[in-house]
């Protein structure tokens, strides 16, 4: 059976070539294939028997999509400049939409420091994954696959407790801020263990802190990390970049004051509060620790301060008065 006559290859050859191939095939006796044909033994032979007439959905490399012949990809950008062109050619609106979508996509212009780009690379649809798609798993008794990470009982428990998926938990920014050795003196002797204080935040207004203590470092770290994720609470943010006004926190002898700052100010404060602000997604902040500066109490006091902000809506309801934010009133609201 000639492969030229059927299917896709035919399109690739000119009629003359097809005629030549057909003549060649007609000249070869079909019985010769049976008597003389043999399987290849060279090193580049295929590992399976296939006449290569079909493209298997997962064993073969998929053919590239053909470019749309109607689209001139080089001049697309140029045609966007003139508004007159758009009106003349109705099809240009399609290109305009596609092109603006392409420009708005954070993946298009990716900067190494831009976390949104990395976020976009990790989208669930899998359309932009840098990795090859996973091979399908077969329910064959002879086959055994390695166990996935989601089998970890602690992680499963955390997922059940928080209602987050594994993907979301992995995306949480976790940072260990304090770690030291603590000792319990008993009559048998000293029992030492390791203490960890960890913060967790989704960089979008959620922040949590957790403490862990165990004789094994990994155990303590895991305890602290999971408690931090479990204790994540919303941190109110003004314009998604700073806090509402000024807040104070106090734990033990540690007292601190955290204040809002204008756009572009940055997080100018000590490292512990800096990390917490990063994890919560706050970008403009100033803080001052006024009394004791114990690291553990500083973190706890900052957490208390950030989560205990009073919102203007609540204040307005409590006083029965109208509160208006006038920051975006001037210059036609174009205030950044």
């Amino acid at each position: 059976m000639s492969r030229v006559r059927e299917g896709a290859p035919r399109k690739k050859y000119t009629p003359e070539q097809v005629a030549a191939i057909e003549a060649g095939e007609a000249a070869v006796d079909a019985r010769d294939l049976l008597t003389q044909g043999a399987l290849r033994t060279d090193p580049y032979k295929l590992r399976y028997i296939d006449d290569l007439s079909t493209i298997h959905p997962w064993a073969d490399k998929q053919p590239r999509k053909e470019l749309d012949s109607r689209v001139d990809y080089r001049t697309k950008a140029r045609s966007l400049r003139g508004g007159a062109d758009l009106k003349e050619q109705p099809g240009d609106w399609e290109y305009f939409r596609e092109w603006s979508q392409f420009l708005r996509d954070p993946k298009t212009f990716m900067h190494a420091n831009d976390e949104r780009a990395y976020e976009a690379m990790r989208d669930e649809s899998g359309a932009y994954s840098a990795l090859a798609p996973e091979l399908p798993k077969f329910n064959t008794p002879g086959l055994r696959y390695t166990r996935g990470e989601d089998e970890d009982p602690h992680m499963v428990r955390l997922m059940q407790q928080t209602g987050l998926t594994l993907q979301e938990i992995k995306r949480v920014r976790v940072k260990n801020l304090v770690s030291h050795r603590v000792v319990n003196q008993t009559r048998m002797g000293k029992i030492q263990s390791l203490y960890y204080l960890t913060i967790a935040g989704n960089q979008n207004g959620m922040l949590g802190i957790g403490e862990g203590k165990a004789s094994e470092p990994e155990d303590g770290q895991r305890q602290a990390m999971m408690q931090a994720i479990r204790s994540m609470k919303p941190v109110p943010r003004y314009e998604g970049r700073t806090i509402f006004g000024e807040v104070e926190g106090k734990v033990g002898a540690t007292e601190l004051k955290i204040s809002a700052r204008p756009p572009g100010f940055g997080i100018r404060c000590q490292h512990l509060i800096f990390e917490m602000a990063r994890a919560a997604g706050i970008s403009d902040l100033a803080a001052r620790v006024t009394r004791a500066r114990n690291p553990m109490n500083t973190v706890k006091a900052a957490f208390e301060a950030l989560t205990s902000q009073k919102l203007p809506e609540d204040i307005a309801r409590a006083r029965g008065r109208k509160l208006v934010d006038v920051r975006k009133v001037y210059y036609g609201g174009r205030v950044y």
Partner: protein, 225 residues
Amino acid sequence: MSLVNLAHVCSHLQNASKARLGLTSIPLTNLHLRLMLGLQKQGFISSVQLGGPSPPLPEILREPEPELPQHAEEVVRERPWELYATPEPKDADALLNPRSAETVAEDAWAEVGSHGRKTSPSTTTTSSPSPDVPKNAARRRLWLGLKYWNNDPVISKMGLVSKPTKRIWLNSQDIGKIARGFEAGYVKGLTRPGECLFVSTDRGVLEARECAEKKVGGLMLCRVY
């Protein structure tokens, strides 16, 4: 104008709010009265009433039972909205407080005739002295209704800005700076949402923003948030 007594009032209001009291009293002075009316205008307290050592009766018990008109049932059936009293148009002071403690206080002073205060003719003619208010001026107190929202007191902090030993007077430009959140004249700006600063001026006790708007300066009294 004793700032010592004002400091006591500030601390007392903080303490009463922390103790979740619904009603509390402070000694009656002209300054206290003006400041409390300012607080009420800003929504920090719900009511200001003149009274004696014991709390005044609730408003419901003080008001006489309204007499029902004849054929009341028919009226209600036809015009049910008349069940709800429509507020009469009042002047600004009357709006602050249904019984207008200020008026009552002015009447009280007019009656006693102390301090050589000028008494406006309207107040002296219209009102009658309340039975709750004692004749002895030293026994009079202001009764304040405190407010709470979402399990939090509406007044969480209240403290003096001027001190008895160091009073601070500022002009309207400086007060404007403070209202915008900047420091001026050794007074920290209003940086918290909804923070208020009360100023004693020749036009009465005003909030800092009102001062900046009316371009009047004065003595910094206390900050509340």
